[in-house]
C-alpha cells in the first residue's frame, strides 16, 4: 500500500505519534477508540511490537489489521490472545492491577488532570448531556499511568470542571494538538511544544494560568517511518 509521507503533519497525527512514543515494548495498554487506538496500533507496528492492546470489550492482546470503529469490532476478538467477559475484564484485569497504561479523553480537563465526560452545565438540567464515564472512573484509579489525549482550547482546558467524572491522580502526560503537559507538584505543566507552536499560543488555549517549565523543548516531528505506518492505518467503515 503506498501512502503519501510528504503531506503536512496534521494535529491528530502529531498527537498519535507523540503518545505512541511513550508506549514501551511489553506495555499492557487499555485502549479506547479514536486517537488512543491509533497511537497504540502505531506503537505496535513500530518500536513496541510487544505492546499488549486491551480493549474494554474484553479482548486482550488484540492485533487488528484495520483500526476498529468501535471497541467491540469483531476483528478485535478474532485477533486477541484471550476474550473475557466484561465483568471479568473490569474485576480481574483492570481492578486486578494487570494494566500498565490507560488512555483517557474528555470534554473538559482541569489543571490537576481531573476529567469531565459527563455533562456541560448542571447535572440534573444539562446544557449538553455527554456520554458519561463508561470505563474511565476506574481506569483512572486502577492503571499505573494515565495518558490523556485532548485538543487544547479554553473550552476544554478549564479552571473549573462542570462535573468531575474521573480523578487526575495517576495522570502522567497530557498530549494535545499544541504540545505536551506533565504534572509537576500536582499541576499540569507545559513541558514541550509541537513544531511551529509557541508557548504564548498554548497559554491562550488554556483556561487557567498555565504553568510552563523552564526548559520547554520542541517535540520531535514524526519520522518518515512513523508517518508511513500511521497513514497506512485505515479505520473500518470510514
Amino acid at each position: 500500500m503506498s501512502v503519501d509521507v510528504q503531506a503536512p503533519v496534521s494535529a491528530d497525527e502529531m498527537m498519535a505519534v507523540e503518545a505512541s512514543r511513550r508506549l514501551r515494548d511489553g506495555t499492557v495498554c487499555f485502549v479506547g477508540i479514536g486517537l488512543p487506538s491509533v497511537a497504540a496500533n502505531l506503537a505496535r507496528r513500530t518500536h513496541a511490537p510487544g505492546c499488549v492492546l486491551v480493549y474494554e470489550s474484553g479482548t486482550i492482546g488484540a492485533k487488528p489489521t484495520e483500526l476498529p470503529l468501535s471497541i467491540g469490532d469483531g476483528e478485535l476478538a478474532d485477533t486477541a490472545d484471550a476474550v473475557v467477559s466484561v465483568p471479568e475484564m473490569f474485576a480481574y484485569w483492570l481492578q486486578g492491577g494487570r494494566i500498565d497504561v490507560g488512555f483517557l479523553s474528555a470534554a473538559q480537563i482541569d489543571r490537576h488532570g481531573n476529567l469531565n465526560s459527563t455533562v456541560i452545565g448542571d447535572y440534573a438540567h444539562p446544557d449538553v448531556r455527554l456520554p458519561g464515564g463508561g470505563g474511565a472512573p476506574e481506569i483512572a484509579l486502577d492503571v499505573a499511568d494515565v495518558f490523556i489525549l485532548l485538543r487544547q482550547s479554553p473550552r476544554a482546558f478549564v479552571e473549573q470542571l462542570d462535573f468531575t467524572t474521573s480523578l487526575g491522580d495517576n495522570v502522567r502526560v497530557v498530549v494535545t494538538d499544541l504540545g505536551v503537559l506533565e504534572p509537576r507538584d500536582r499541576e499540569l505543566t507545559l513541558v514541550a511544544v509541537h513544531p511551529g507552536i509557541d508557548v504564548e499560543r498554548v497559554r491562550a488555549a488554556t483556561g487557567w494560568s498555565l504553568a510552563v517549565a523552564d526548559d520547554v523543548r520542541e517535540t520531535e516531528p514524526p519520522t518518515e517511518l512513523e508517518l508511513q505506518v500511521l497513514r497506512a492505518l485505515r479505520t473500518k467503515g470510514r
Binding site: G72, L76, V86, P87, A136, R238
Partner: protein, 284 residues
C-alpha cells in the same frame, strides 16, 4: 423444544408495561430485534438497563417507551452522541427520562451480584468525583482488613434479553466472540428472552463459546439479523456505516419518527425490517 416461540409471542408473554428490562450485548450481539418488537407491541413506562445504551435504546427512548435509564456510557460508539437520549435528558422530549448512572465497572459488578443472588456488588471504585453523590452507591467496610469499598445494588431485572448466535432444538443457547455481560444478565433476571441467528440440531463446540442451558432461558426465538446494526460473530459484520448514518437520522425528531414508522412500526418482524432497509438503500 420447550422454550421455542416467536419473538412476538415471547414479548407478549414475558414483557409488561412498567417492567425493568435489560437488553445486553457489549457492542456485539445487541438484541435490536427485541427492541423493535417492544415498540411494535407498544410497551410503555419501561426502566431500561444497559451498560452502553447504543442505537437500540436511542430508539426506545426516542419513541417514548422508557421511564428510566440505568447505564454507564450513553454514546454512539466511534461516532458521537445518541441524539434521542440527549433530547430526552436535555429537553424532556418526548417526555422526561430519569437517569441512574454508573461506571462500567459498577454496572458489571451489579450484574454479577444479581446473577449470584447477592444484594449488592462490591468493587474498589466510585472513589472521588461527582457521580457517587448522585447515584445508588454506598460504602462497605471489609470485615477482615477494614478497607472501605464501594457497594452497588445488584441488578435484578424483570426481564433479561440477549441475542446469540445459535440455539439447539432443546433450547440451549450458545454464543461466542465478545461475551459482554449476557450470561450475568440472563442469570440476574426473573425472566429471560434469547433471540438467535439460527436453530440447529446439535451445538458443536466453538472456541471461547458459552452455553446458557435451556432451563435458564424462558423463551428462545429465531431472529436472523436480529443484532443489526451491531453484529453476530461468524454470521455478519458490524454495520459501521449505519452507526454513522444514525447520527443524521436521530438528529431530527421528525426524520427519526418517520424512519421508525417506516422501518420498525410498519414492519412485522426482523425479516421485513431488513427488507425495508434494503428497499430504501435501492431507492437512493
Amino acid at each position: 423444544m420447550g422454550n421455542a416461540v416467536t419473538l412476538a409471542e415471547a414479548v407478549r408473554e414475558l414483557v409488561h408495561d412498567g417492567d425493568t428490562v435489560a437488553l445486553e450485548g457489549f457492542t456485539h450481539l445487541i438484541p435490536s430485534a427485541v427492541g423493535h418488537e417492544l415498540l411494535r407491541q407498544g410497551r410503555r413506562d419501561l426502566t431500561l438497563v444497559r451498560m452502553t445504551p447504543d442505537v437500540v435504546y436511542d430508539q426506545l427512548i426516542g419513541m417514548g417507551a422508557a421511564r428510566k435509564l440505568v447505564f454507564s456510557w450513553g454514546g454512539n460508539p466511534g461516532v458521537g452522541s445518541l441524539r434521542r437520549l440527549r433530547d430526552a435528558v436535555e429537553h424532556g422530549w418526548p417526555h422526561p427520562l430519569e437517569l441512574e448512572e454508573h461506571s462500567h465497572a459498577g454496572m458489571a459488578a451489579a450484574y454479577a451480584a444479581g446473577a449470584a443472588n447477592l444484594p449488592f456488588g462490591v468493587l474498589r471504585g466510585y472513589r472521588g468525583g461527582d457521580l457517587p453523590g448522585l447515584t445508588r452507591v454506598a460504602t462497605v467496610t471489609c470485615p477482615f482488613t477494614g478497607e472501605e469499598l464501594a457497594a452497588v445494588p445488584a441488578h435484578r431485572p424483570d426481564v433479561g434479553i440477549i441475542h446469540a448466535q445459535r440455539a439447539d432444538r432443546r433450547g440451549n443457547v450458545q454464543l461466542w466472540g465478545i461475551l459482554g455481560v449476557q450470561k450475568e444478565t440472563v442469570l440476574a433476571s426473573a425472566r429471560s428472552i434469547a433471540t438467535v441467528e439460527e436453530i440447529v440440531d446439535e451445538l458443536d463446540p466453538r472456541p471461547g463459546a458459552i452455553v446458557l442451558p435451556a432451563w435458564v432461558v424462558d423463551a428462545v426465538a429465531l431472529a436472523p439479523g436480529g443484532a443489526h446494526p451491531s453484529y453476530a460473530h461468524g454470521y455478519y459484520d458490524r454495520d459501521n456505516e449505519f452507526y454513522v448514518a444514525w447520527e443524521e437520522i436521530a438528529r431530527d425528531r421528525d426524520v427519526f419518527q418517520a424512519w421508525m414508522q417506516r422501518h420498525v412500526l410498519d414492519t412485522a418482524d426482523i425479516g421485513e425490517y431488513h427488507a425495508s432497509l434494503a428497499a430504501e438503500a435501492l431507492a437512493v
